[in-house]
Symmetry: D3
C-alpha cells in the first residue's frame, strides 16, 4: 500500500511513520507547508517525495491511504480531500473541532466507501484490549457509572500550538482529556447521551508558572486549562469527566477510567478488577501483560481495515463524542 503523511510534527514521526514502516507499508510522500520540515522528516525516514500542500500531494501521488497529523482545526478539510481522492484515512485525535465537522467526515467516508479511523491510541493498549474483551464477555454486566480523569498538575505543553484555541479548538478537554473521554465511551459501548453539564475555565494558564512539559506562553494562552463534565445516557448510565492542563493537584498526573457495572468494576491504568463470586469479593489484576506499542497496533488495525469493506463505526462514534464536547464548550 502506498501511504502519504499529512503533517510531520512529533506525532507523525513517533506514532505513524515508524509504525507504517514496521508494518511493511510503503510511505511514498510527506506533506508539510514548511518545506524544510517536510524534507527533514523525509530524510530521516528515507521517504522520496515532499509536498507543501495536501492538494498537490493527492494529485501527484497514487495513494492508498493517508495519515492526517496536523493541528485539529485543519483535520476536516484534509480528511475530506483525502477521502475525495479515494484514500483511506487515519486522522489523529480529536477527529475535528465540532460535531458538524465529525458528521461531514462521516458522510464523506461513506460516500467515498473508504475507511476512516481516528488516532485514539489508548484503545490499543494491552490492558485496554483485555478489558474490552472482558466487558464483551459480560464480566462487568451492565455498566451504569463511569469516571474519566485526565488531570495534569503543570502539563501545558511548551511546544507546538497546544495553547492556541484557533488552531486546536480547545485544551484540557479537546486536546488532552478527549483521550480518556473517548476511552470511557468506547468501553461503555458508546451509549447515546441525553444530557450534558459542563464546566470550562481558565484559572492558571494565563499567568506564568512552573512548567513540567516545557514553558508555555501565558500571554497567548487561549484554551481552557480546566474542563469538567457530567453526561447522562439513554440507558440510564452516567459519566463524569475531570480534566486539566494545569491544576493544584497531587504529584502524579492521572489518566484513568473507572467503570462500575452490575457484575463487576474495573479501573485503568493499570487494570484492576473488582467482582463478587463464590460469596466473596475479589480483586483481580493481570499478572503479565505483553508490552505492546499501542501506536503500532493502531497502524496495523488501520491497514487491516483498509483491506476489507469499510465500516463506519469509528466515524459514527466521533459524531457522538463531538456532540458531547460541543455541549460542554457551549456552557463555558
Amino acid at each position: 500500500m502506498n501511504i502519504g503523511i499529512i503533517g510531520t510534527g512529533g506525532i507523525a514521526t513517533t506514532a505513524h511513520i515508524p509504525q507504517y514502516i514496521a508494518a511493511g507499508a510503503n510511505i511514498v510522500a510527506v506533506m508539510n507547508r514548511t518545506r524544510a520540515r517536510g524534507e527533514a522528516a523525509a530524510r530521516q525516514f528515507g521517504i522520496e517525495r515532499v509536498y507543501e500542500t495536501v492538494e498537490e500531494m493527492l494529485q501527484n501521488e497514487s495513494l492508498d491511504a493517508v495519515s492526517v497529523c496536523t493541528p485539529n482545526a485543519l483535520h476536516k478539510d484534509q480528511v475530506l480531500a483525502a477521502l475525495a481522492a479515494g484514500c483511506h484515512v487515519l486522522c489523529e485525535k480529536p477527529p475535528g473541532i465540532s460535531a458538524n465537522e465529525a458528521s461531514e467526515m462521516r458522510e464523506a467516508a461513506e460516500r467515498a466507501k473508504r475507511t476512516l479511523h481516528y488516532g485514539f491510541h489508548y484503545r490499543h493498549r494491552a490492558d485496554t484490549v483485555l478489558l474490552k474483551r472482558m466487558i464483551e464477555a459480560g464480566e462487568l454486566g451492565q455498566i451504569y457509572a463511569a469516571t474519566a480523569v485526565a488531570l495534569r498538575r503543570r502539563g501545558i505543553p511548551g511546544w507546538g500550538v497546544f495553547t492556541d484555541k484557533e488552531l486546536q479548538g480547545g485544551g484540557a478537554l479537546l486536546d488532552h482529556g478527549v483521550h480518556m473521554l473517548d476511552l470511557a465511551l468506547y468501553l461503555m459501548g458508546y451509549p447515546k447521551p441525553i444530557d450534558v453539564m459542563g464546566h470550562i475555565g481558565q484559572y492558571l494558564g494565563t499567568r506564568p508558572g512552573v512548567g513540567l512539559m516545557g514553558t508555555w506562553d501565558a500571554e497567548t494562552f487561549s484554551v481552557e486549562d480546566t474542563a469538567r463534565a457530567m453526561v447522562k445516557f439513554e440507558n440510564g448510565a452516567s459519566l463524569m469527566f475531570d480534566g486539566s492542563f494545569m491544576a493544584n493537584v497531587g504529584p502524579r498526573d492521572t489518566m484513568s477510567v473507572e467503570l462500575r457495572g452490575t457484575e463487576g468494576g474495573a479501573t485503568l491504568f493499570p487494570l484492576h478488577l473488582h467482582t463478587e463470586a463464590h460469596g466473596a469479593l475479589f480483586d483481580q489484576t493481570p499478572a503479565h501483560l505483553e508490552h505492546v506499542d499501542p501506536y503500532a497496533v493502531q497502524i496495523q488495525a488501520f491497514l487491516e481495515a483498509c483491506r476489507h469493506e469499510p465500516t463506519y463505526e469509528q466515524a459514527d462514534q466521533a459524531v457522538i463524542l463531538h456532540s458531547i464536547i460541543d455541549r460542554i464548550y457551549e456552557q463555558a
Copy 2:
C-alpha cells in the same frame, strides 16, 4: 445547662450523650417511643427520666437544649417542637428530607431565637479544622473545582432503618454521601448553586450479596445504592459528587473531598496540600495532628453557641444543601 435527648439509637449513645457528659452538661431526660430502649440508655448513663413522646418530655422538663437523634423523616417535627419549647437544638444529619423542611426549621429557629446546629461531625475533625483555617487564610486562593466522594463497596448497613426510604428519605446520597457533600460545600464557603445534574439508581442493593456492614434485606431495600451529581455555582465553581452504598469498586472505601484553587489544592482524608512557591511545586502534609473526637468538638461548639446570640449560618446552609439534594432526587 439541662439537656434532653430525643432518640436513643447508636448515634445518640456514641456521639451525643457521652460528649455532653464529658462537657459537663446535665442530661436530665431521654425520649424513646420504645420505653425499654429509653430506659436502657438512661440506666447506662445515669439519666433520671425517660419519656415516650417528645411532647411529654418538653412539657415536663425545663430543658435548655435537646439533641435530635431519630430517623431522618422525624427530624423536622421534633426540631420545630423543641424550638417552640424554647430549646436550642442539635439535630443529627441530614437536617431533614427536603429543602422545604430545612426552610421551616430555619424560620422556626429565627422565630424562637434559638441556636440550631446539625450533626455534620466531619467538619470537626482536626484535619478539616486545619484546612478550613488555611482556606480562610487564602492558601488555596479561589476554589473553583471540588470533588466529594463517598463510595462504599458493600456498605449497606445491616441494622437500623437505613434501607427504608420512608423513614430515611434516601440512602447513598441523603444518609451517607451527605457528609462529604456538606463538607465540600462548607470548605468552599457554601456558594450559591445555579445548576444541578443528578443520577440516582438501584443497581446492587435489591439482590442479596456479600455485606461488609452486616446483612441487609434486599427485598425491602427501597433507597438508592448509587448517587452521582454535578453542581455549578454562581461564582463559576463546580462540584462533582460520587456516592454509593454498594458498588464494584476497589478494596478500600473512600470518603474524600478534593479542592482545587487558584493558589493551591487540597485533599481530605488525610490532608495533603499542593502548591507552587519559590518557583517550585510543593506537596505538604501536616506532620502531627492531635487526635480529637470530632463528636466531642461538635458538642462543645453547640454548647458554646447556646451561650451566645444565635446565628443561623448552619440553618441557612442546610437549606442550600437540601435544595441541591432535592434537585438530584428529582432527576432519578
Copy 3:
C-alpha cells in the same frame, strides 16, 4: 445437648468450652486427672461437675457429646470409651498416633452410629472455606501438585508435653505439621496415597537455644524437630511436605499450602489465586473476608452434625492421614 469435656488444658479452654457456650450447648462436666485443674476450669466457666476419670464421667453423666482434649497418645482409648457410651465425639488433632488407632476409632464410630470429628480447625478458616468452595466449583481444575509447609524457626513449645514422644507420638510432623498436611489433603479431596518418602530428624532440639515459644528442655526432647516428605497419589498427583519445630530459616514462620491445578493455582495463607482467562494471566485475592473464629465454626459444625445421621468422612480421612504419617516415621 449435654456436653462433657475430657482434658482441660489450653486447647480445651480456648477452642472448645467458650465455643460450646457461645453455641448454646450445655457443658455439664469436665474431666481432668488432676482434680485441681479440672476444678479451676469448671469454676472459670461455671460448669457443675468435675471428674478425675473418663469412666466415672461417662457413667455418672448422661452426655450427648464429648470433646477430647488430652495428649495425643490418650485419644484413642478415650474416644472409644465415649463412643461406646453413646456419645458423639469431637477429638482434638491429631486423631491418634497411628493408622491402627485411626482405624479402630473409625470402626467404633460406625458401630456406635455416632459422629466422630477431629479438631483440624484450619479447615474452618474463612479463606479455607472459600477456597474449598472454589475448588468444588472447578476453578482449579484437576489438582496435580501440592506443597504443605509448617516451618518454625524456634517454635518448640516451652509448655505442655509437646516434646514428649511417649505422650505426643511426634513433634514437627504429628503435632504441628499435621495441620498443613491435613489441610492440603482435604483441599485435594483426600486422594489415595500410593507411595511415601520421609525424612525425620533431630538436629537442633536436643541442644539448648533461643526459644520463641518459651524455653524447652533440650535434655528430655524426644520428638523430631524436622519432618519432610513426598507423597504420590493414585490420581497422579504429588504432595511435598516440609515441617520443623526448629530450623535456621527466615524471620517469619510459615504455615502454608500451595496447590497447582490444570485450571488454576492457589496459595494459603493468605489466599491468592492464579489463573488464565480471556487470553491473559490473572492474580486474584479476596478483597474482604469476614473475620470468623475457626474454632467456633468447628464446634457449630460438630453440633450440627450430631443432629443428623452420622457420616464417617472425617473418620475415614484420619485413617489415610495416619497411614501417610506412619510411613514417614517408619523411614526415620
Copy 4:
C-alpha cells in the same frame, strides 16, 4: 590457547564466545551443521574458520579447548570426540541425557587427561560464590535439608528445540530445573544419594496458552512441564525439588535454593542467612556484592583449569546428578 566452538546458538554467542574473547583466548573456529549460521557467528565475532562437522573441525584445527553448545542429546558424542582429539572441554548443561552418558564422558576425560567442565553458571554468581565460601568455613554447620525450586508460570521457551524430548532429553527437569538441582547439590558438597522419588507430568504444555517466553507449539510439545522430586542422601540429608516450565503459580518466577544446617540456614536468590549467636537469632544479608558476569567467571575458571593438572570433580558430580535425574524420569 586455541579455542573451537561447537554449536553457535544463543548460549554460544552470549555466554561463551564473548567471554573467551574478553579473557584473551583465541577462538580459531566455530562449527554449525547449518553453514550459514556458523558463518553468521564467525562474522559477528571475527572468527576465521567455519566447519559443518565436529570431526572436520577437530582434524583441521590444532585446538587446545572446545566449548560444546549444542542440543543436549548431542553433547556426549561431541565431548568424546573432542577429548579424544586432546582438547579440554567446556560442555553446556546438562552434561548429557543420562547417567550412562555422564559416566562415559567422565571416563573419557580421565583417559585423555583433559579438563571436563560443565556450564552450570549459577555456581559462578557472586552470591553463590560467597555462600560456598561461608559453607566451607562452617557457617551453616552440617546441611541436612535442602530445597531447590525452578518454577515458571508460563515459561516454555518459544524458540529453539526446548520442547523436543528427542533432542533435549527433558524439559522442566533436565533443561531448566537442572540448574537449581545442581546448585543445591554443589552447595551441599554433592553427597551420595540413596533414594529418589519423582513426579513427572505434562499438564499445561500440550494445550495452547499465554506464553511469557514466546509462543510454543502445543502440538509437538513432548517434554515434561512439571517435575518434582525428593532425594535422600547417605549422610541423612534430604533434598526437595520442584520445577515447572508452566504452572498456575504466583506472578514472579522462582529460581531458588534453600539450605538448612545445624549452625545456620541460607537462601538464594538473593542471599539471606539465618543464624543463632550471642543468645539471639540473626538475619544477615550481604550489603554489596560486586556485579559479575557468571559466564565470564565460568570461562576464566575453565581456562585456568586447562593450565593445570586436570581434576575430575565436575565430571564426577555430573554422574551423580544424572543418576538422580534418571531415577526421577523412570518414575514418570
Copy 5:
C-alpha cells in the same frame, strides 16, 4: 527486702513501684512532700506508710533500699541521706546536676559500702543488652566513633517541672539527651574524655507553639531546647551528641546511638550491625528479640546487686558523665 520510695511522680509509679512488687520486694513506705500525693500512690499500690520528709522516713523505717524519684536538683541530698542511713540506692537519671554532686554521691556510696545505681533504663533494653554482649565479644573491634542523638520536634513536656532550670538543672541535654549520651558512653566502655565542645541554646521554647507532649509554658521556660556537643577521648575516639526538646526536624523523633569500630559498626534503635567477613560486607539484624520491660530488668539488677558486695562502677561512670555535661553547659 524492705524498700522505700522517695518521690511518687510518674516515673516512680510506672518504672519503680510495680517492678519492685513484681520482683517480690516489699515496699513499706513512700515519701512525698505533698501528703495527698503520697497517699494516693500508697493507696494505689497497697503500701502501708506515707511520709512527708526523707528524714522522717529513714528514721522511722528499717529500709534495705530506696528509690529516688524526685526532681534532679534534689537527688544528691536524698541519696546522701539514704546511704548514710545504710540503704542501697537506685536514683533516677540524671545522677545529679553536676560532677561535684556525682563525686559526692560516689564517695558516700563507698563510705557506706552500699550499692548506688542510676536509672538509665535504655541500658536494659533487649537490643542494648545484646549489643553490649557483642561488643564485649569483640564484634565491633575498637570503637573509634560514636554519635548519640536525642532529637524531638516538639517534645517539651507539658507536665512536671521539666522546663524549670532550677529544679531540673537542664533540659534537652541533662534531662532527655542524657539517656543517649550515657548509652553511647556505656557501650564504648566509658572511655576517659579529654576535650569537650558544647553548644547550648534556647531557640524555640521561649515562644508558644504546637506541643506534642502537652502544652508547656513558654514564659517560664528556663532550660535549653538545644544541646550539641563533641567529645574527644584519651583512646583517640570521638563522640558527637545532638539533642533537642524542640527543633524543626523530621516527622519522627530520634533516639539513637551509632557506633563505628574497626571490625564492625552498629546502630540502635532498632539494632543493625554492619561488618565485613568472608570478603564481603554484611548487614545483620536480630530476627527476634524478646520483649522485655527495661524497667523491670533495671529493678531486678539493682536488687541482685544489693545482695552482693557493692561495686562502684555506675557511680564512677556518673562522675565522668557529669564532667562532660558540666563542660557543655559551661560553654553556653
Copy 6:
C-alpha cells in the same frame, strides 16, 4: 570566549569540557604533563592544541578563562599563573590544601581583577538552588544548627591519586567531605567560625578490604579515612561534620546536609522541609524538580560571571573553609 583546560583527568572530561562546549564557549587548548593523555582528550573533543606545561599554554594562547582540574596540591600555583596571565579561573574543589593557599589565590584574583570560582557543584543542584532561595526568603529563619555528613562504607577510590596525602592534601575531609562542609556553610551564609574541634584518623584504609569504588592500595594509603568535627560560629550557630572514606556503616552511603532554623528546618538530599504554620506542623517536599546537570549550571554561572565586574565572594569563602579544615587537621 577562549578557554584553556589545565589537567585532563576524569573531572575535566565529564564536568568541564562537555559543559563549556554545550555553553558555546571555545576551548582552544588543553594541558597535561603526560602528552598522550592531553592528546587523547583533545582528540575526543576536537580541541586544537595540546601543551605539557601551564606556562607554555598561557604564553602561546590568548585565553580568556581556564579550568584547573589537577590534583589538589597543584591548584594554587596554576591558579596564580592563570590569573597573572589575565585569565578568569574556575578551579576544581578543594580550592587548595591550606588557608594560606586560599588567601594567596584570593589576593591574586583581586590584583588581577579576574573572577575566581571553585568547583563546588553541589551548590548548583536544583534542590540546593531551591533551598538557597527559600533560605534567602526567610523560610528557615535564623539557622542555628547544621549537620554535614559525607559517609562512605567502602568508598576509597581505586583510581587516581586520592589516597596520596602529598598530592591530595587529605582524604575523607579535604577531598570528599569538603563538598558537604562547603554546602552547609554556603547555605548558612558562611558565618564566621570561632572554634573548631576535629578528629582525624586512619582506621580501615591501611589494611586491605572490600572496595566498592575499585581496589585501593592499602600499603600506600596515606590520607585519613575518618574525619569528624564540630565548629562554632560567631553568630551562635554550630555545625557538626562527619565524614569517611571507609567505615562500618549502613548499606547506603550518605551525602547530606541538615539545617535547623528558628522558623523551619531542611534536609538535603533529597530536599525535605519542616515548619510550623496555622497552628500545625508541616512536612513539605518539592513535587517536581527539573533534572539539571549541576556541572552545566556551574560552567554557565562561571561564564556569566566572567562577563561582569568580578566579585570575590567564592574566593573569600574558600579562605574561611580552608581555615576550618586547617584547624581540623591540626588536631589529628
